[in-house]
Symmetry: C2
Subunit: 665 residues, 2 copies
Amino acid sequence: MEELVGLREGSSGKPVTLPELWGPCPRVRRGIRGGLEWLKQRLFCVGEDWYFLMALGVLMALISYTMNFAIGRVVRAHKWLYKEVGDGHLLRYLSWTVYPVALLSFSSGFSQSITPFSGGSGLPELKTMLSGVILEDYLDIKNFGAKVVGLSCTLATGSTIFLGKVGPFVHLSVMISAYLGHVRTKTMGESNSKAKELEMLTAAAAVGVATVFAAPFSGVLFSIEVMSSHFSVWNYWRGFFAATCGAFMFRLLSVFNSEQETITSIYKTSFRVDVPFDLPEIFFFVALGAICGVLSCVYLFCQRTFVRFIKTNRYTSKLLATSKPLYSALAALVLASITYPPGVGRFMASRLSMKEHLDTLFDNNSWALMTRNSSPPWPMEPDPQNLWFEWYHPRFTIFGTLAFFLVMKVALSFSCLFPIPHLISFALWTLLSLAMPGPWPELPHLGFGPAGAAAFSGAVTHSISTALLAFELTGQIVHALPVLMAVLAANAVSQNCQPSFYDGTIMAKKLPYLPWIRGRKLGSYPVIVEHFMNRTITTLAKDMPLEEVAKVVTSTDVIQYPLVESTESQTLVGTVEKTHLVQALQTVTPGQQSCLQDILTDGCPTQPVTLQLSPETSLYQTHNLFELLTLQSLFVTSRGRAVGSVSWVELKKAISTLINPPAPK
Amino acid sequence: MEELVGLREGSSGKPVTLPELWGPCPRVRRGIRGGLEWLKQRLFCVGEDWYFLMALGVLMALISYTMNFAIGRVVRAHKWLYKEVGDGHLLRYLSWTVYPVALLSFSSGFSQSITPFSGGSGLPELKTMLSGVILEDYLDIKNFGAKVVGLSCTLATGSTIFLGKVGPFVHLSVMISAYLGHVRTKTMGESNSKAKELEMLTAAAAVGVATVFAAPFSGVLFSIEVMSSHFSVWNYWRGFFAATCGAFMFRLLSVFNSEQETITSIYKTSFRVDVPFDLPEIFFFVALGAICGVLSCVYLFCQRTFVRFIKTNRYTSKLLATSKPLYSALAALVLASITYPPGVGRFMASRLSMKEHLDTLFDNNSWALMTRNSSPPWPMEPDPQNLWFEWYHPRFTIFGTLAFFLVMKVALSFSCLFPIPHLISFALWTLLSLAMPGPWPELPHLGFGPAGAAAFSGAVTHSISTALLAFELTGQIVHALPVLMAVLAANAVSQNCQPSFYDGTIMAKKLPYLPWIRGRKLGSYPVIVEHFMNRTITTLAKDMPLEEVAKVVTSTDVIQYPLVESTESQTLVGTVEKTHLVQALQTVTPGQQSCLQDILTDGCPTQPVTLQLSPETSLYQTHNLFELLTLQSLFVTSRGRAVGSVSWVELKKAISTLINPPAPK
């Protein structure tokens, strides 16, 4: 049906529809419509990227907050159950253990049944993706659901199982960002550019950290140092914007929920400001940092060995492959039995939740002094005013409980194949600083407890942002220099001895990666592309008969072929994709004698070669190019002739030959 | 003289010298020598880069501290003179003005006579250098002396002339690093690699900031965001290490000099920690941030206009060109007259030194409340306990003095062609937050004074690190979120409207630079190299007769020529430098008929082409390549033939055509 139109009185313009003509206040409505149009233009000229980043931050903050909230409730219910169940040891034991066993086996069964990618930290895979490798399905949105449920259930087991939250959250955030990107591509009809996608992933990594700890600065630094070897300042802006939105929203929610009066740091501390530390303490900071570095090397080594053992051992590998939920349930049962408070759990403060553990370790009272003269009895319930007292045992002393806690937790995190959480590093630092026979026994935790978390987790992940994280969490930055020095010392030790946790996992999982040319070894300079390029490339010449092309296509397994002018000249003119070639070959009527040139002119698409190496390009330069532009492979031409190709495989081999030269014969 | 040797008893090894044989404790000495040798090997296997970075940090810290110390003494002497000179107005006026006039004219005369490069901030030039352009002599060590003397004298004028210290210090640090690099190249005999040099310069920029403010984190962030458009994580480590060494040394010196008990933040503050700000205040933070952004745009615009006026105006340009010391002396006289305390200086707290200004503006007392009911008389001397009182004037009120201070200081910094110091931004924020008619009149300075400095100077320089700097300076980071949001708001406004201070200066000084493709405009994608490359390249063919080569060499003015296989095929085989060609041509006996190939085989060196573009490479990809690899120019080949070249000039033209498309005819 056509609409009726009319002309406005006195106007000679275009006709308008009757409903509009006869509606009330035509001018006002027109004005509003014009205003909205103008606003839309204004808003869109900013670039929808920024709305996208804001949406990402807000979404992640909502997810993080909701998850925290739900977990808190489940943990509280567990505590209530444990308290109410009475004094019978069997009931108590059951109420303590059934909860985590059920949660953990459900969590691992649920995520396993949906997708195998949702387990683990996820960061090593992300690192590989950001260097340009495409891991199919890894960022699929169905992984998201599995990971959220799995993570929530695991964290809801309370103090039984400790899980680092950063890795999973970064993975979640990246998945959300990839999904939003898909939605955008569909609705806006833009073509999906890979560069843009990678940018968004980097920003999403920053958001992941920022929404766990409400720490935008360290989120961005983390995404700089862990995620890639080169960083574009353009990403830096996006990262800051998205991380700030996320962190603000995350803290705002807790204010709205009346948990807090206003937006503050998560673990507010009150260390001395006037004289935060004595000058000689700096040396202890550095020494403890170095010790943390050594311990992190030991940890990394043990972790890798243990993972290898689990995967190669006959029983465990079978159990893991066939029935992961059963393995999880068994592990949970063992862990819960160990942490059962009236039993061994007594010696590892297992009545405290993860947050309470952190709160007590951030404490700035001198435990050594406070427990020197008195030995109060063990309270039936943790005393909310003196939670730290859970760490104390009259015969075992604080040293004993801390050391026992550390050993057990590290062993447990191994057995669950989980990454180590920051919490363990706090305990480590507390123990070290208490044990340090310094001339300052009255100083609690060597001034600044979070320094240990920064040093140890910095050493494990090869990063410095953990130092900044310690300040953002506590709201005090007066210890900037000593903590930074401790982190640097820890990193100096661990970077020289072990690959980082992420790199180690990448190697163990055999994901593709490009080794770093460490310290710009001068030895790498004289090596040129000619020495290591792959010389056996299959070129397709334009004057090749089609049968031969078909033979080549069926006998080789590459994605794209270099296209050369003629078999004789071998002058590179472009590339042609295998799928296109196969399609084109299928439409050719058989028996017709023709050459490749014909199907190219018939419309088989070719791509130009936009960048090419020379045989004289140095290894160093090639490595740089691959890293900076996140390339997969490049063709090598000499005077226009295609003479070879270089891909990650060749580069990696060349670099490893440089680092470990083959024994001379 | 040959040394006498002997054999050790019972040994069948190599003979040793007699003094060694007969010296005491041969074993111990051998052990020590072996140990030292081992230590040396150990130490050198770390890579001497780290020692170099440490030396850089320590040197800069020494320079920074010594300069501060000397300046402090000179300023104190000036104050003493002004106090002792009596009540006569003429004498007082003279003692107030002669000092800065003498210092400033000496400073500008001294540095002018040594080198013209030592003036100004130096950062714009550094930015250009880090993008790969070589500015001859700009990092020469004699500039260093001139800059140190000039800077010290200017800063020693006290509150009369305000100078941003960051820019000059970064320049100084980079000069030291370049000099150390030269020394190293000479002593170690290594070849000087450009990539390594640029890395060191970036680390040096971080050291520059860290040794002024003792703020390693923001130093590194500053070097990330201001110095280049891409950042290698490798540099990040170096930056942190060097900046930490510098900041630690800088603060250590002030402890050794008994100025402080231990290492703490420079401007310690004590804002409330429990409830650092009320939630609604965040909106004011963001709003004030946006206002700061708008004001920074105004400032940047005025500054550029003023510089252009000074340079084009007949009188001033003549004065500046012929007698800069005179100009400086005149400017200093005017400034000193204006700041003369009993005169107009009364209204701008000119009796305070720059450090005292900062101290008072960091104050967290509510000035508005404290001056509401009382109006004490103006003290003869500034009261050390209540320095802020200098800002108060009974009739002018605090608003008046602050506004007057702001206007005057901005105008003055224009007239001296100096960059604006952070101090002005503090005053701006204080004024804005006092003037904000909010429902919280009892809150001092809207919670956190340094936020203003962060927002305004962040907007002027287009950086976020200023936010982190505010926390490192004050030692409190509880305001992380609101300050970050204010800085982001300020940046959002200023980045959309004006180029940053550094970019503006680069444009005004007509330094070479590569425009940024803002927001990855999609319009830039379809443009390919073929559309904008320089097609008129002069190639030298191997079969060219020498006369023709000589003609080409004398008639063109390029540094290197593309070398092609033959005039007909134009297949690119390498490049040859003009200087080498000229040398080789001079040795050829004239009259002898030969071609270019002959002198090449005679030993005229050629370089291989390691990277080449195709005509189909996109503008976006080319831009990325140039930025990432800091290239100057690349040759374009099509099927091996050299068909053109692309350099910064072409890229810039192509990008500006995209941004401002030519009007269709």
